[in-house]
Symmetry: C2
Subunit: 137 residues, 2 copies
Amino acid sequence: MISKILVAVDGSSHAEKAFEYASYMAKKCGSKLLIAHVLEEFVGVGHSILKELEQRDIELLQKYKSRAKESAASISIDVIESRGNDVAEEILRIADKQKVDTIVVGDRGIKASKEFLMGSVSYKVTHYAKCPVIIVR
Amino acid sequence: MISKILVAVDGSSHAEKAFEYASYMAKKCGSKLLIAHVLEEFVGVGHSILKELEQRDIELLQKYKSRAKESAASISIDVIESRGNDVAEEILRIADKQKVDTIVVGDRGIKASKEFLMGSVSYKVTHYAKCPVIIVR
């Protein structure tokens, strides 16, 4: 049983693909879908800017929630807005806390000559997650 | 649409988990399931031993095919027996040739002190696949 799927979104095209994959899977498997966003905290960023970014991210999550609901009205959907200076660690922490069965992340990797280099967040989540991880690219 | 899922098996407990995940997904998503095994070729291994190993692997694949068929009678299942000196490269080659939507691999990783080290096959498949990859552990 895949009863709880966590997908991490950040407004990028990679995350968009991960969201589409995760919501399709949740629909087909009848899983609960958790859509999470982690606001990366940088040293020196003022409180008012952080508040503004947070508001933008809450709107992003609500947009994703509406889309997931539209495509799969029957599934249960939750959004999680979080903050941290290490996005991957925060995703792993949420996955543990929420006891999810699968984590879905988009890969921001780049093609460098013949080699493909994975993005740092997907790399770290893949390496340290205790549950299955889906890397979408 | 996830219409074709490739799962790599090798008789290990990690591959067993990957198989269970992949067959569950195929059942739920109505995907075709390809079960592949790559016989790792070592220099100096004689022809008769290779033949014996190949026979054992064909039996392993047939066993998996029967199990997948039992749990999801409606889905289409195929097995692929292959050889190569680089298992990950061979899995990637099969994925390309068969135009699969998702690759599922078990992770033979080990926990070294506080760090988790991914197995070399799952590591390479994750890095170089052109489609989504599911790492099951």
